[in-house]
């Protein structure tokens, strides 16, 4: 059984770096760069986990997260959120919106891997 990650991030270099890490860890990685249709993409792709950037063109990652939590299929989906805006306000907002894990850029590769594994383990246990 393959583990699938959907990466929603508009910065191509970052997408490439995360894809490299996760693929090597045995994940199937799909990427999407726009916020406007992100929710539909998530619903259609049915990934095991979503990595979501906050500052996306078209629609903010925060709004995408809220919408995901309103939809039955994605209500319990593990979402790892990444932000380049180093403000605690964003963390509060994300937690309120129902984020599973929140990380500030720049992050270490090990952190990302650990977070993704932990989230997946929690999701499969429950």
């Amino acid at each position: 059984m393959s583990r699938r990650v959907l990466l929603i991030e508009d910065e191509p270099n970052i997408v490439e770096a995360i894809r490299f890490l996760l693929v090597r860890d045995g994940w199937q990685v799909e990427a999407h760069s726009d916020g406007a249709d992100a929710v539909e993409v998530v619903v259609a792709a049915k990934p095991d986990l979503v990595i979501l950037d906050v500052m996306l063109p078209g629609k903010s990652g925060m709004d995408v997260l809220r919408d995901l939590r309103d939809i039955d299929e994605t209500k319990g989906l593990p979402v790892l959120m990444l932000t380049a805006r180093g403000q605690s306000r964003d963390r509060d907002m994300a937690e309120k919106a129902g984020v599973s894990r929140f990380m500030t850029k720049p992050f270490s590769n090990a952190e990302v891997l650990t977070a993704v594994r932990d989230l997946h383990a929690q999701a499969t246990r429950s």
Binding site: E11, I14, A17, F20, R24, A84, Q87, K105, P106
Partner: protein
């Protein structure tokens, strides 16, 4: 029997005596040695001109005809003197403070110094007093007739005697009353002579009375028996008539011009009224004491045909007491002369001041030199007025036939003069009384009196018997003695009832419906509140104040603690220990007023204490002062309002500044957040790939190269971002130093195009027309080139055409140089056009390597150079326009 000549001689001697007394009194007054002349006794005696020949002779006749009713004539003045002395005091105070010369002057003065009103009162007084003067003439003639046979009279004829008596009295009055012209209209000589005459009449009447009681009747007991057996004992007391006549005589006592003359005009000292308040009633009591005995004995002794009016003379004569009779005659003569003199004096003042002088002055208007002979004119006017008044009296006597009883003539006169009462009393006590109201009341009352009393009193020659019986034109309800069908009333009661009640009603109603002029209101206030204005207006007298009330008021104003302390201190000063309130002494009240004035202002404080102390009403001045204070308070509060408006304005400005600061702070936060994002994003890539390069095993060489390139590019991106940020920061803070120098536009464009396209994989074709670009510039050419590079690079980056082209066109317009950069792409969507110059505004989702600060920097630069950069929305394709002042324009600046 005394001969006529002897009587005339006695009269002349008496007159000369009076003249001498008056002369000496005047001299003493002039030299200032007249203290005794100004005693309250003289004042009281001078008031006795109320007792005229009517009282002297007529009271006995009145008693003989109507019993004790004659007492009402004395009762009215007595009640006024005792019960209303404070009202008289007010009258006197006003008379002095307003320098009033007559009752007409007083009324006129009260109602806004209206001469029309003065003329009305004067005419009313002249007409009202004329019967009275006729009465005096009649009484003197009658008294002559008692002594002298009609045969002896024949020499002069009855009317001749009256004529000469009138002439004599006129001369007498002129000699006494108009010898000189006092500025204050006081006549010490006359008053002294009148006082002497008062003594003479009292002594004469008392002498006759004593003679009658002890000489004829034989003692008090016998006299009482005679009274009981005479008709006098049988007269019923008519309560209504008594009250009416008492009221009438009281009214006349106040309103009669001659009474006003002696009581107000001739008054030297207000305190004399206090003495007069008991002394004058005592005089009246004495003079009326023997009226009934004389009448009773007279009725007993004399024939039915004898005139009871003359009992005072005829009774002594019948007993052969000629000396006593002559004394009585002198008493009657005194009564008549004193009344006539003072009345004529008072009337002449009114006539000359209010009728003759205005006419004379208006006829002389324009003449500049009348100041010299005004005195002479006034004196002449007075003399003529006196003669005219006497003539009027004489003609009334001739017209009325001299047959009416003395008392009824007197009552007609009283009723006439009483018409002044509503206007007078209203004027003293009612601020709302107006001139029009007074005129209306006087007119109505006067007309009714003339119609119902004066004209019928003149006999059938004036109003025919048919009018009396059936009314004018047969209108029964207009019968003079039965107005509106009210019949069976005593004529005088009928007159008084109708005239005074309609007079008062008209006065009140018209006053209520008319508005007084400012002068009227001012005068009204001065009259009504005279005691607050004259002598010591700011001092507190009398101490009926309630200390508790003062305390309560003070607590409200000063606060409980301070007020209690003040009162406690004052109580200690007064020697009252142990929590007693201080007595409201004038000193205390003054201090309290000062203490309160510190809080509420002097006028308000005075008015407030005035309200409590003796309930004195608040004067116009007080109110005006209060209004002034209120105005000051209002001004103060409007200043406060202005200040608070200013504060509000400041607060608003502060709020706006604060909002701006908040907004700037938000913008700064947003900017920092953006900067953070722009910094962290390349750093994330750098960190991630450097960790991959470090940790990951089995990387292909291609992968290694690629990841190192990414790290390198992202590091460059960071450098660019930092450069842009610093550049923008310097431009925005205004600390940038411009390197202005001369050059041409084509050179600057040349310098811009090649670096912008250097190292680009995708070709952008730039179209220029160099012939148009030979334009001299004076600017910071490096900065300008930076802007051009940015715009060209933007076109290169964002133009979405397959074969991207950029056209650079140059125009000159109105001293401005316009450089347009238009590409063949799809341009910027309209909703984003306004945003392109904002920091970090990236229109498309694609990454173009910039941080989104380029256009913001361009705009900052162009604004520093005195120009601008704008987006041209109406053009297809991306189109930017750079505006720049031309070199000569710049040089000119």
């Amino acid at each position: 029997m005394a001969t006529l000549n002897l009587l005339i001689l006695v009269c002349l001697a008496y007159v000369i005596l009076l003249f001498g007394v008056a002369f000496i009194a005047d001299r003493l007054a002039a030299t200032g040695r007249s203290t005794w002349l100004r005693s309250p006794l003289v004042y009281t005696l001078s008031l006795s001109i109320y007792c005229t020949a009517w009282t002297f002779y007529g009271a006995v006749g009145y008693a003989a005809r109507s019993g004790l009713e004659y007492l009402t004539i004395y009762l009215g003045p007595t009640l006024v003197m005792i019960g209303w002395w404070w009202g008289l005091r007010k009258l006197v105070r006003i008379g002095r403070s307003q320098r009033v010369t007559s009752i007409a002057d007083l009324i006129s003065s009260r109602y806004g110094k209206s001469n029309l009103l003065a003329v009305c009162v004067t005419i009313l007084a002249v007409i009202g007093v004329t019967p009275y003067i006729a009465l005096q003439l009649q009484s003197i003639t009658l008294s002559f007739g008692v002594f002298v046979d009609s045969d002896a009279m024949g020499e002069y004829g009855e009317h001749g005697v009256v004529f000469w008596v009138a002439i004599g009295l006129a001369v007498f009055a002129i000699l006494f009353g108009t010898r000189n012209l006092d500025a204050n209209e006081r006549h010490h000589g006359v008053v002294t002579a009148v006082a002497l005459e008062a003594v003479v009449k009292l002594v004469a009447l008392l002498a006759v009375g004593i003679f009658v009681v002890w000489g004829i009747a034989g003692g008090v007991q016998e006299t009482l028996v005679r009274i009981d057996t005479s008709r006098i004992g049988e007269w019923q007391v008519d309560g209504g008539r008594w009250m009416m006549i008492t009221f009438l005589s009281a009214a006349a006592f106040v309103c009669l011009p001659r009474m006003f003359q002696v009581m107000v005009v001739e008054n030297d000292d207000e305190r004399h009224l206090r003495t007069a308040a008991w002394a004058f009633p005592l005089y009246l009591l004495l003079i009326s004491l023997f009226v009934v005995p004389i009448a009773a004995v007279g009725l007993d002794l004399m024939d039915q045909t004898d005139n009871p009016d003359m009992f005072v003379l005829t009774v002594p004569l019948s007993q052969g007491r000629e000396g006593l009779a002559v004394l009585a005659f002198l008493g009657g003569f005194s009564s008549a002369t004193s009344m006539v003199i003072v009345a004529a004096m008072a009337m002449s003042t009114m006539v000359s001041n209010h009728i003759v002088m205005p006419i004379w002055l208006s006829s002389r208007s324009g003449s500049a030199s009348f100041s010299g002979d005004v005195r002479h004119v006034i004196l002449l006017a007075r003399r003529i007025s006196i003669a005219a008044i006497m003539a009027l009296g004489y003609f009334y006597y001739r017209l009325s036939g001299g047959g009416t009883a003395l008392a009824s003539i007197g009552l007609i006169s009283f009723a006439g003069i009483s018409q002044i009462l509503p206007a007078l009393v209203g004027g003293l006590f009612w601020r709302g009384a107006t001139r029009t109201g007074a005129l209306a009341g006087l007119t109505v009352g006067f007309a009714l009196w003339v119609y119902t009393s004066l004209l019928p009193g003149m006999g059938t020659g004036v109003l025919s018997a048919s009018v009396m019986m059936h009314g004018p034109l047969g209108l029964e309800w207009l019968r003079p003695h039965a107005l509106f069908g009210i019949e069976g009333m005593d004529p005088i009661m009928h007159t008084v009832l109708w005239s005074l009640s309609l007079n008062t009603a008209a006065f009140c109603l018209v006053s209520l419906y008319t508005f007084p002029s400012p002068l009227e209101r001012l005068q009204g206030a001065q009259f009504v509140n005279v005691f607050d204005h004259s002598t010591s207006p700011r001092g507190w007298t009398g101490s009926v104040a309630q200390a508790e009330d003062l305390m309560i008021m003070s607590q409200r104003i000063l606060g409980a603690h301070e007020a209690q302390e003040l009162f406690h201190r004052e109580a200690e000063l007064q020697g009252a220990w142990g929590g007693h309130l201080p007595e409201p002494t004038p000193q205390f009240l003054d201090r309290l007023e000062r203490a309160l004035s510190g809080t509420v202002g002097a006028a308000t404080s005075h008015a407030m204490i005035g309200q409590i102390v003796g309930g004195s009403s608040v004067s116009v001045e007080d109110l005006l002062a209060v209004a002034d204070e209120s105005a000051q308070l209002l001004e103060y509060s409007s200043q406060l309002e202005a200040k608070s408006a200013e504060l509000a304005r400041t607060a608003r400005q502060l709020r706006e500044a604060n909002e701006k600061l908040t907004q700037i702070s938000l913008q700064k936060d947003a900017f920092l957040s953006q900067v953070s994002h722009e910094l962290r994003t390349p750093m994330t890539s750098i960190r991630a790939f450097s960790e991959i390069l470090r940790d990951a095993e089995s990387l292909t060489p291609e992968e290694k190269t690629r990841y190192a390139t990414i790290i390198h590019d992202e590091a460059l991106r960071l450098t660019r971002l930092l450069n842009d940020l610093l550049d923008l920061s310097v431009l925005e803070s205004g600390q940038v130093s411009l390197n202005m120098r001369g050059g041409t536009l084509s050179d600057v464009l040349d310098r811009a195009v090649s670096p912008a396209l250097a190292g680009v994989d995708r070709p952008l074709v730039v179209h220029r027309r160099k012939s148009n670009e030979a334009i001299a510039l004076y600017s910071d050419l490096d900065r300008l080139a930076q802007v051009f590079i940015n715009l060209i690079a933007n076109a290169q980056k964002y133009c979405d055409a397959t074969d991207p082209e950029l056209v650079i066109t140059v125009h000159q317009m109105g001293g401005q140089l316009l450089v347009d950069f238009v590409d063949n792409g799809s341009g910027i969507p309209p909703e984003a056009q306004s945003l392109v110059f904002e920091k970090f505004a990236r229109v498309s989702a694609e990454k173009a390597g910039g941080a989104g600060l380029g256009l913001a920097i361009c705009r900052e630069i162009m604004q520093r150079l005195g120009g601008d950069v704008t987006y041209l929305g109406g053009v297809s394709g991306g189109a930017f326009r750079v505006t720049l002042p031309l070199a000569n324009e710049m040089a000119a600046q």
